[in-house]
Symmetry: C2
Subunit: 395 residues, 2 copies
């Protein structure tokens, strides 16, 4: 089956979904067809996935069905896996057949950047999507249940690779759940029951933040039993544990890889240019050399004149998505494309459900409960934007 679209959006994450909704709005009543492709029937709140991985949020609590969001919208949803792109033929091959487009918005999100470290792809899980975050949670709980049979510490040991945002947030949630794990799984009282290690190649936590914030995060988590191993890159991951850069072998049955994301393999194979693991885009979010292709969200590498390269965060995604949609609509309707004017509102990393650390507008540093509630406010703000774009607001 072949389907034709004027604008086709690949990926219904933060950038892709907001782009599709904006396109639906701009092109409503006009003879243009907008499509949104996603492998899942639901939009995932990716910033909550570390909580799914730790088990402090259920898999069903972090998703919203596309059917609900796109109800009555002039956007066709196609549930499909993207298998290949032919950029010359303007065709996307999917598990639901071939899709043709005039304009393409690529918003497929990131996959784990493994830097070619052996065993990471096979034995470590990343909270880049719902399925691996969920699998991490149940693998951990299964291993803790197996501990009673083996008394082997590897079954109650978690190693997190990377002390960036995701790694720190996951460690914080796991440390919070550790007392419950100890009781439910009869773990020993020593060492907090659950053993949590964070192995980081550099000498600090939360690299994009000012140094004192990383120190605060590491100290607070250490107080809750998390052990940070700085200057300790992963050399290899095996079923039984992690080999670190200095040759130390850390026995552990549950390993998370939080070393960053890159554009998915299917895009590399399609012949997109790649820079720093991502697809470089111009200030109008188009891919150089492709007049009819936009890239947004975690797959896109955008360098702002003032802010420098934008980090692959939800905040970046929700600025890119609508702007790319405006530009795609302009191309179809004879308008002119506009550059993205990015804002850096800052970022907050949670350290479990009552503590956090953050840096706002590049200047203000916040800690503890204030930071935690700021993080919650940021998440609420995204949901408010989503409701506004989806037209759920009733006056």
């Amino acid at each position: 089956m072949v389907q034709e679209f004027d604008v086709l959006v690949l990926g219904g994450g933060y950038a892709g979904l907001l782009a599709a909704l904006r396109l639906g709005k701009r092109l409503a009543g006009k003879p243009f067809r907008v499509g949104l492709v996603d492998r899942n029937p639901y939009h995932t709140l990716v910033t909550e996935l570390h909580r799914v991985a730790a088990g402090t949020a259920s898999p069903t609590a972090v998703r919203i069905p596309f059917a609900k969001i796109l109800k009555d919208k002039p956007v066709s949803f196609v549930r499909a896996e993207v298998h290949a792109l032919d950029l010359r033929e303007r065709r996307v091959d999917t598990s639901a057949g071939a899709l043709h487009y005039k304009i393409l918005l690529v918003a497929l999100g990131g996959e784990a950047e493994t830097y070619g470290i052996p065993g990471v792809a096979e034995h470590a899980l990343s909270a880049t999507a719902l399925a691996p975050a969920r699998l991490f949670r149940y693998r951990l709980e299964h291993n803790l249940a197996r501990y009673a049979y083996t008394q082997d510490d590897a079954f109650r040991t978690v190693v997190i690779g990377g002390a960036g945002f995701t790694g720190v947030e996951l460690a914080g949630e796991l440390a919070f759940r550790a007392p419950d794990f100890r009781e439910a799984f009869d773990l020993p009282d020593t060492e907090g029951g659950l053993r949590i290690f964070v192995a980081e190649a550099t000498d600090r936590a939360l690299p994009p933040f000012p140094e004192e914030l990383g120190r605060y995060a590491a100290r607070r988590l250490a107080e809750r039993g998390v052990r940070f191993l700085f200057g300790s890159p992963f050399r290899e991951v095996r079923e039984e544990g992690v080999l670190l850069g200095d040759g130390t072998f850390l026995p552990a049955r549950t390993v998370a890889w939080c070393g960053g994301v890159r554009a998915p393999e299917v895009l590399r194979r399609a012949g997109f240019p790649i820079q720093n693991g991502r697809i470089p885009v111009g200030n109008d979010l188009r891919v150089p050399g492709f007049e009819d292709v936009f890239a947004v969200g975690d797959v896109a590498f955008f360098v702002d004149e003032d802010l420098g390269p934008l980090p692959p965060t939800a905040q970046t995604a929700i600025q890119m998505g609508p702007q790319a949609a405006e530009n795609a609509a302009a191309l179809l309707t004879g308008g002119s494309v506009q550059p993205l004017r990015a804002k850096n509102r800052g970022a907050v990393a949670t350290l479990g459900p009552q503590d956090a650390v953050g840096c706002l507008y590049g200047r203000y540093r916040i800690y503890g409960r204030l930071a935690f509630w700021t993080k919650r406010a940021i998440e609420m703000r995204y949901l408010a934007i989503l409701r506004r774009e989806a037209g759920w607001y009733t006056p």
Copy 2:
């Protein structure tokens, strides 16, 4: 370290715990030492284990710490694994050292009776104790999380071996949770998402019950998607599934074995007589040939004059434990032992959290919600007995 006891109770299940409490009461103030040995620091509500296995009860909800029950009681609790018994030397070798006794009460509960079927011990789990019931739950959830990666139906298939009490109750709880599983793990809508098979060697469910009750249970569970395979004994269990008697291979990653219990291996090695997989006892609950050894609960094979062989149930255990304690106290204090006068109050099997089927006093048949609440009342009754024996009642 050697410890000496006048009466030593092995196992703190229903029979052993009630025996220890009764001994503490009878011998209070007298120069006798009573010991209770268990591998866990808590008493487990074994009749609830099928709910732990299905995930409808948490592992921590079905246990009570011995420290709480035995507080202020003249009973010494020894947390230890029983390694070996020397019945001639009156010595029990445990992970906490050697324990000597004058009188022994064996109440170690049952282990799975596998009838020598290959692979059952390695690849199937039984809800005979907290650890395997808990492991079953987390193995199942882990396999369901893996389904998203493989789309292999074996990962969403559970096979239960045996349609006796435990098998039917487990199937009922799993069928109840199936809709939640389907949503949380993105299982397909077809076949209820979770595939539940019950393979039974005979041609009916709930063999000890009147036939119409077994038919009712099978019909109600079939309505909720459970597939019964009658005349289908397990021939072999492998990591990938179950080979049935007729040569059919049923691919399944999660297998429960509910084929009955027998006396643990450590007792067989100790030279106890074995009959029908259990230790035969006289009507005073002593083991023939051993004047100073009582056996109670699931390990004991007791034939009542009127009722015939007593089934290995909680109801049997809570009648045996206190009677054996009375007799043991009588031996120490110069009294005379009395025979157990067993009563058959009947039994109820739950079919999920709102349905059940039961037979009371050998005559009355009950179904549905009435049966379910009768089951709850039976469980409450045990807790009331426990509180009374432990002296928790305040007037």
